[in-house]
């Protein structure tokens, strides 16, 4: 099932661009859905149904002056958004979106890289992504930025533990850290969200916190902190932080689909990537729905929820799954 | 590690030393096709993480008491 290296390269390019398009239309979808949920119209000027709005936003951001605070640390201030963006995009490399195809006597795999440590790789990249926030907050040399960076850092590290533990049950059932193996196992047996309902719930909560979306958007609580770690950023540098956040959301939705909802599996097999896309779309819509309906938590509530509710539930779930797996086999 | 006076830098240097040992363990594990080196590299990692937890906890506690962060002046055990 190996493929020539240049096919991987082409695939990587295509996927990165597809993710950027998906990101652009996620912002559109978010604004449109939020508006409809609040009895508004949302963007409707640029193009039919406001469909050209993301491009208008992009042009506006790129054309803005790339503002630079006097007190900022020069190289770090510029590097921080790049780190965020890079880790967000790189994580998608190991998520499988199809079963693989035979195109003109070349075999094309349904993922960019098939590695045995795929799951750990995603978590590792996610944890490196924290640096974007903390370096950006520190290098801006501003109190609001630093406070936002501290909050981001504490929140992301706390919820990463729950995120990693919540998928342990899936790993035990799939008996692999390889995402392709896990999806194939689900195709052969049952989608894991049924036996791993507790794991899925913990995963979704931790996922919302990891992408710092409402109601866990303490790092960017605009009523308390102006805008969090990217207060001092403007133009496309701010745009990169924002993009990284949305791409993280799409990647983690893809991971959730892969781990709990059978990945590319669906009623009609050749439509694999379409099923995958639809499931991710459903997940993203749920994210937006939650944003529209739940108020923000207080900081101590957030920490207490992470350490005293999610972590024990995830641990107990993993232990019970391990016992059941041993008992069955 | 011996030269710097800031406990934060001392901890960072300690990490470098542990990682040097880790690299040697991994390299010989690969060279001799023996997994034991990798196991001990992982154990070293865990120990390093624990050591950092305690070290940083001490530094934060010192900072709360407004004690200057200088290893030469931290010569007494009484808080």
């Amino acid at each position: 099932m190996t493929e020539p290296w240049w096919i991987s390269l082409i695939k990587a390019g295509v996927i990165v661009n597809l993710i950027m398009v998906a990101f652009a239309y996620t912002t559109w979808l978010e604004r449109k859905l939020l508006a409809r949920m609040q009895n508004r119209y949302g963007p409707n000027r640029a193009g039919p149904y406001g469909l050209l709005q993301p491009f208008a936003d992009l042009i506006k951001l790129v054309r803005k002056e790339s503002f630079f605070p006097v007190a900022a640390q020069h190289p770090l201030y510029i590097a921080a958004p790049i780190v965020s963006m890079f880790t967000a995009l790189a994580a998608f490399a190991v998520i499988p979106f199809g079963a693989g195809w035979q195109i003109w006597h070349y075999h094309v795999n349904g993922e960019i890289a098939n590695v045995s440590i795929a799951l750990i790789l995603i978590f590792a990249l996610g944890s490196v992504g924290v640096y974007g926030a903390i370096i950006g907050g520190w290098a801006s040399h501003s109190k609001y930025s630093l406070l936002g960076a501290m909050r981001t850092c504490a929140q992301l590290v706390s919820y990463e533990v729950s995120l990693a533990l919540s998928v342990l049950g899936v790993v035990l059932m799939g008996q692999s850290l390889n995402l392709v193996d896990i999806v194939n196992k689900q195709g052969a047996t049952i989608w894991f969200f049924i036996p791993q309902l507790a794991g899925l719930l913990v995963f979704v909560f931790a996922m919302i916190a990891e992408t710092s979306r409402p109601p866990f958007d303490l790092p960017e609580a605009d009523t308390e902190l102006v805008a969090g770690y990217h207060t001092e950023y403007g133009g496309m540098r701010w745009g990169l932080f924002q993009t990284a956040e949305y791409v993280n959301m799409i990647t983690l939705s893809g991971l959730a689909v892969t781990l709990f909802f059978g990945g590319w599996h669906g009623p009609y097999a050749p439509l694999g990537p379409i099923w995958f896309l639809l499931k991710v779309f459903a997940f993203v819509s749920v994210f937006i729905w939650i944003r529209a309906s739940v108020p923000r938590l207080r900081y101590d509530q957030l920490m207490r929820f992470g350490w005293k509710v999610l972590l024990p539930v995830a641990t107990i779930n993993a232990v019970i799954t391990a016992l059941l797996v041993v008992w069955v086999s | 590690m011996l030269l710097r006076r800031n406990p934060l830098i001392v901890l960072l240097s300690l990490e470098i030393m542990l990682n040097g040992a880790n690299l040697a363990l991994i390299a010989f594990a690969r060279h001799l096709d023996n997994g034991d080196g990798q196991i001990f590299a992982l154990a070293v990692m865990a120990v390093a993480a624990s050591e950092v937890v305690v070290g940083l906890g001490l530094i934060v506690a010192l900072n709360r008491k407004r004690v200057p962060l200088d290893v030469d002046r931290l010569s007494s055990l009484r808080g």
């Binding site: 590695v115 045995s116 440590i117 750990i120 978590f123 944890s127 490196v128 640096y131 903390i134 520190w138 960076a149 501290m150 850092c153 504490a154 590290v157 990463e160 | 011996l2 030269l3 710097r4 006076r5 934060l8 830098i9 901890l11 960072l12 240097s13 990490e15 470098i16 990682n19 880790n22 991994i26 594990a29 690969r30 060279h31 001799l32 096709d33 997994g35 034991d36 990798q38 196991i39 001990f40 590299a41 992982l42 990692m45 865990a46 120990v47 390093a48 993480a49 624990s50 950092v52 937890v53 305690v54 940083l56 906890g57 530094i59 934060v60 506690a61 709360r64 008491k65 962060l69 030469d72």
Partner: protein, 186 residues
């Protein structure tokens, strides 16, 4: 086919040399920056290049664990504390009397010579050629099997060490807060 293999080998060597030099350079940078924040960032670079070296040594699980544990948890904590205590800048070579510097360099040199002599004496030529490793070497399954069979005791002791450290961290944090409340501020 051979051409492709050669290109691959050159690429591996290039990455190898690059990672090794990045590792050394960032290691020097850690001890010579005057700002601890930059030192910590250099250490992250060091750990990252070490992870690349581990990958080249076909220890992929250890490499991933390195990034996850060190870069993901330990160094984030470091940066958090450095940003929190905001330490003053310090010239790297200002601290400590001169004899300490000389002593440190001499001790390091002596240790290096000792290590080389000991390895050279004990290896008996078994290091002359490298062994071939199987495809599963360094995979999560391989590591897990070793941990739960040959090295169960080390595994358990490590977990106890981690638990003790976690409890210690919590106690250190809560203790200093209590004393701060009890004692009048200076």
């Amino acid at each position: 086919m051979t051409v492709v293999a050669t290109v691959g080998n050159v690429l591996v060597w290039a990455v190898w040399v690059l990672a090794a030099f990045a590792c050394l350079g960032s290691g020097v940078a850690v001890v010579s920056f005057s700002n601890p924040f930059y030192s910590a960032l250099a250490l992250i670079g060091n750990l990252g290049s070490l992870a690349v070296l581990y990958l080249l040594l076909s220890s992929e699980f250890v490499a991933a664990a390195q990034v996850l544990v060190y870069a993901g948890a330990v160094m984030v904590m470091f940066l958090f504390v450095i940003a929190y205590v905001d330490p003053r800048l310090e010239s790297p070579w200002a601290g400590g009397p001169g004899w300490q510097a000389i002593g440190a360099v001499l001790a390091a040199a002596a240790l290096l010579v000792e290590i080389i002599v000991v390895i050279g004496l004990n290896a008996d030529g078994s290091l002359a050629h490298s062994h071939d490793v199987g495809g599963t070497f360094g995979s999560p399954g391989y590591i897990g099997r070793l941990f739960l069979t040959d090295h169960l005791l080390a595994f358990e002791i490590t977990s106890i060490v981690l638990l003790v450290a976690a409890i210690g961290g919590v106690i250190l944090g809560s203790h200093s807060r209590r004393s701060e409340e009890g004692v009048a501020p200076l």
